[in-house]
Subunit: 610 residues, 2 copies
């Protein structure tokens, strides 16, 4: 155990050195877990640092992402990075960011928003069991502060439910949060009780006792039938008197690094030989069958959510890498279609949207392409997870159904009216909002190849199919569904149908309206919008969404970026809706055909006063 002790001291020293070089960071939160990580590296973790894409590699996730100095010190000890790079910690251009990101090849996902690493670990463990069917293990290092996040308990629930004995969580109970003691302090039993109540195998240890640490790690590896948590009582800042177990020492370099390093026995340059897994194939052999995308007849009434489910099932046959999951509303989102066709690649995530998105993030780490669906309104529950998925450079697809006031009777709690704004504001995202079933079908397959977070907004109610089954749609495109040079009407989804109706109303009055189906909200077809701005008296945009950040603002931004000035009149939901029939609510919100036509009339009459 002497080597491990020396290794742990090196991890502490290097954490102190990294924080000192950066002038910031979280060395004390690193020092508490150093003995745990030293033991894990030396004999338990199986990770080929030279081949980070080896499918049989274990996965190591620092859910307590602020302990990045410890993680990077581990990478150094394993020979993956050198000491010079360690000291670039938190500097501009360094891969060693303040909190871990996949800028480093041994970091699967970004952490730093607490409570996310464990649910993502659940996703990876599900992948190992059910998709990859490979014997890798997922190790997640959690802080005790983050145990207050509900997402941690979603993960506990799901991991036990799915019997994930390839998942090991290590909770570093160093007692102290950022501002003071955590809710439970050193009451490790409180964590053990909770974990056991959810069905986990729980082991509590002194996290600084090498024999207890070794025994716990071995026990976790040999335990079968369910996940294991090691609840380790530790001291924050362990090993340095000036900071050990003291409040007020969170998130800052040690007051005297040289003195601290001396107390820790000085700098070392040990290398640990991390076990490698058996080498496996580097690419999955995804099963592929022929299957045609569904085709819908023009005029047929089909909800776009239904087209989603039917198409996703077909895409799942054409591509073996596609997986689907749902937040216990699969009969509403129609993801049940996929479940029926591909039960081995479908995951019921129950009503736990954070765990759902986290699972998707975990699965895409291993090259699978997840489609996660629920009511669009409830994707807001997982907004921080979606935000962080972008930091993780995750490639995944989201579908939100039941958008807008057009859902009708269920009322505002179920109406997504901010989803376009929220999803547009995710870095690198794609936002699509089809109006008919064939369009939905055609957009869905390219989503599966799209980098980043792709979001498809679908509608509850059925609408007539307006595009033939051979019409092509590209992400970033749009369709001019009515030509005309007097005024332009821009809609998507539900409002596209209203805009077409408005064009009919206007035609009766001799006003020829161009109607643009802006199904690709991001990226947006600037050229078509610009042409409309230049060729007609102005644009009326209509959206089943709050006025902020949605379709109308997209149009304004696109025109501004292209240097095109034109009157734009934005119609959006102006007030809190209640229940009612879809038509009543569209009318009340003034985003129906009559309202669009009226705005268009005003534009045509007085373009400058629109």
């Amino acid at each position: 155990m002497t080597f491990r002790h020396e290794l742990a001291q090196q991890l502490r020293v290097d954490s102190v050195r990294a924080g000192d070089a950066a002038g910031s960071g979280h060395p004390t939160s690193s020092m508490s877990a150093a003995d745990l990580l030293a033991a894990m590296l030396d004999g338990h973790l199986r990770l080929d640092f030279e081949r980070p894409d080896n499918p049989r590699n274990d996965h190591l996730i620092f859910s307590k992402g602020h302990a990045s100095p410890l993680l990077y010190s581990c990478f150094k000890a394993a020979g993956a990075i050198d000491d010079a790079e360690l000291l670039t910690f938190r500097k501009f251009g360094s891969r060693l960011e303040g909190h871990p990101t996949p800028a480093l090849p041994w970091v699967d996902v970004a952490t730093g928003s607490l409570g996310q690493g464990l649910p993502i670990g659940v996703g990876l463990a599900l992948t190992g069991k059910q998709l990859d069917q490979l014997p890798y293990r997922v190790w997640v290092v959690c802080g005790d502060s983050e145990m207050a996040e509900g997402s941690i308990w979603e993960a506990f629930e799901h991991a036990a439910h799915a019997n994930l004995d390839n998942l090991v969580a290590i909770v570093d109970v160093n007692r102290l949060g950022q501002t003071g003691e955590t809710m439970h302090g050193w009451d490790v039993q409180s964590y053990v009780d909770r974990a056991r109540a959810t069905g986990w195998h729980a082991i509590d240890i002194d996290g600084h006792d090498p024999e207890q640490v070794e025994a716990a790690l071995s026990e976790a590896e040999s335990h079968s039938g369910g996940p294991t948590v090691i609840v380790a009582r530790t001291k924050k800042g362990k090993g340095v008197t000036a900071v050990e177990d003291l409040t007020g020492k969170h998130g800052k370099p040690l007051p005297d690094a040289a003195e601290a390093i001396e107390e820790l026995g000085g700098a070392r340059d040990l290398r640990v030989t991390v076990s490698k897994p058996d080498s496996g194939e580097l690419t999955q052999a995804f099963r592929v069958e022929g299957a045609d995308l569904p085709r819908y007849e023009v005029g047929e009434e089909v909800a776009t959510r239904k087209a989603y489910g039917q198409t996703l099932r077909a895409v799942g046959s054409r591509r073996g890498d596609v997986v689907a999951m749902d937040g216990e509303v699969s009969n509403s989102t129609h993801s049940e279609q996929f479940r029926e066709g591909h039960p081995e690649r479908y995951f019921e995530m129950y009503i736990a949207e954070q765990q759902m998105i986290a699972a998707a993030v975990g699965m895409q780490v291993r090259g699978w392409r997840p489609f996660a669906s629920t009511f669009a309104a409830f994707l807001t529950r997982a907004y921080d997870f979606i935000r962080m998925a972008a930091v993780s450079r995750a490639d995944l697809c989201l579908m939100g159904s039941h958008a807008g006031v057009a859902i009708g009777e269920d009322g505002p709690s179920q109406m997504a009216l901010e989803d376009l704004a929220a999803l547009r504001a995710v870095h690198g995202s794609t936002v699509l909002y089809p109006c008919d079933a064939n369009q939905t079908a055609k957009l869905l397959e390219p989503m599966a190849d799209r980098p980043g977070i792709s979001y498809l907004r679908t509608s509850r109610g059925g609408h007539p199919v307006i595009y033939g089954p051979d019409e092509e749609f590209e992400i970033g495109g749009s369709k001019v569904v009515r030509d005309g040079n007097d005024v332009t009407l821009v809609g998507a989804g539900v409002t596209l149908h209203e805009a077409v109706r408005a064009a009919d109303l206007l035609a009766e009055e001799g006003i020829r309206a161009r109607v643009i189906d802006l199904y690709s909200i991001k990226p947006v077809d600037t050229a078509t919008l610009r042409a409309a701005a230049e060729q007609t008296s102005g644009l009326v945009t209509a959206e089943d969404h709050w006025p902020e950040g949605g379709l109308g603002d997209t149009v304004l931004a696109a025109l501004a970026e292209s240097g095109t000035m034109a009157p734009v009149h934005k119609l959006a939901v102006p007030a809190m809706p209640g229940s009612g029939k879809p038509a009543e609510l569209l009318r009340q919100a003034a985003i129906d055909a009559e309202a669009i036509a009226e705005a268009a009339r005003r534009l045509v009459r007085q373009p400058s006063m629109a």
Copy 2:
């Protein structure tokens, strides 16, 4: 118990009738809990329906908001609404929306996004104990499906931690979710184990056995020292063979309402006399002390987050209704200032942002004005709660610190870059982003009187105070900090300082730039923007935020709405940042003075090609 049985059957019949009249809704989810509610109404709940503002009233929250037919049937049985109104369920204009909202005076908060009622109940129970110091009880009816939401476990943790023996949760374990069986089915012990592990008093009963129900409610009322949960095994659709305990019967009217009503013993017209609490004062007497707002000297370097803490403490002295809470980062947000000044009105919510916002929603129900703070990035964790708070017509204040790339070394997980978009897209919200300490101080106090959700974005780093301590700022206003007619630079917060520097750079070249401090992002000062658009060659907007939905889009929307056309060049963060010094990251994102000046030069040279 016969009366209670008859009452329960009436609640079932009325739930069936309401769903039948609406043609939609969730009668089966209502029927499972009817015996529980009948007993609660008849002898346990203390609520004066004629005086819903009686401060001593108990609070009844349907966390399973989809069981609204049951809630409304209870209101009818209590004489609060009549039968005719019951049958307006889910119709346009009715107060009886698909899911409960405060359109009804006996509904404190909107529910329907699952997992929110219990954490809000925790907020109300905290209010009863610590703020109101009144003996009311908070009853929360939960579904079993929603027990999968992590927010429920945040609530369990916090309620036990705060010893909330004025809180009773009733879990209606009817086994069946929307699509199938829940994770735990009728394993009521699994819920009991989890509840006990978190420190709750747990009672498991047959939810259809009147004696067990009565005993459990009495035990819950007499239990002291901590919260009680009644885990009730029930049957979905109880009492009607065509639906009882069957899958596929969720969220739809009964197949044959007349037959169901007959099986339930026919319609009844019972009235239950709900106990009234002692009458209490109708208004709180909030303690008020004189205290001056802090004043900062021009030129002094103060972070706006620090001004937030100092000002909030002063506002807390001036107004006894103001309370504050934080997600365990009070030394970063500086809400610790309030805690030190007003410990009796400060709540440590630990790292559980969903529970934090829910607690704020609960507190404002009773007339308190909560200020909830954390890193702006982590408010995204509670986005669904903020969305629903707007549906609840909640009046509360949020502060998000550490906005944008300007935080520097901590990296993207800690950088709010979507918060302006997300908060703008909350209905009725106010979004403020001050650039200096005096401005922060002056904006904070009116926030406390603002209806709806008000959000203040603050910065990590210190910036020189540019406004004198007597300068006035109003919500919805802006400040022209430099005059000029060549071009307009629009910034807020960090970028306002960059815009001023840009104006200096441009002045050296003879370009006179107008600089607008757009500290009020929503509502926005359209008149000032319009004047700038008309009087200068164009606008450059700069924001420490993704390009979508933030300051730039606000400006575009304001100009479009006012019918003003002008070139607008939007600068925003274009790519995923890493770690670095604030100046390095502002430079990389091209939102610093040099980038603003360069965009302005291009506008001045070629306004139409901006």
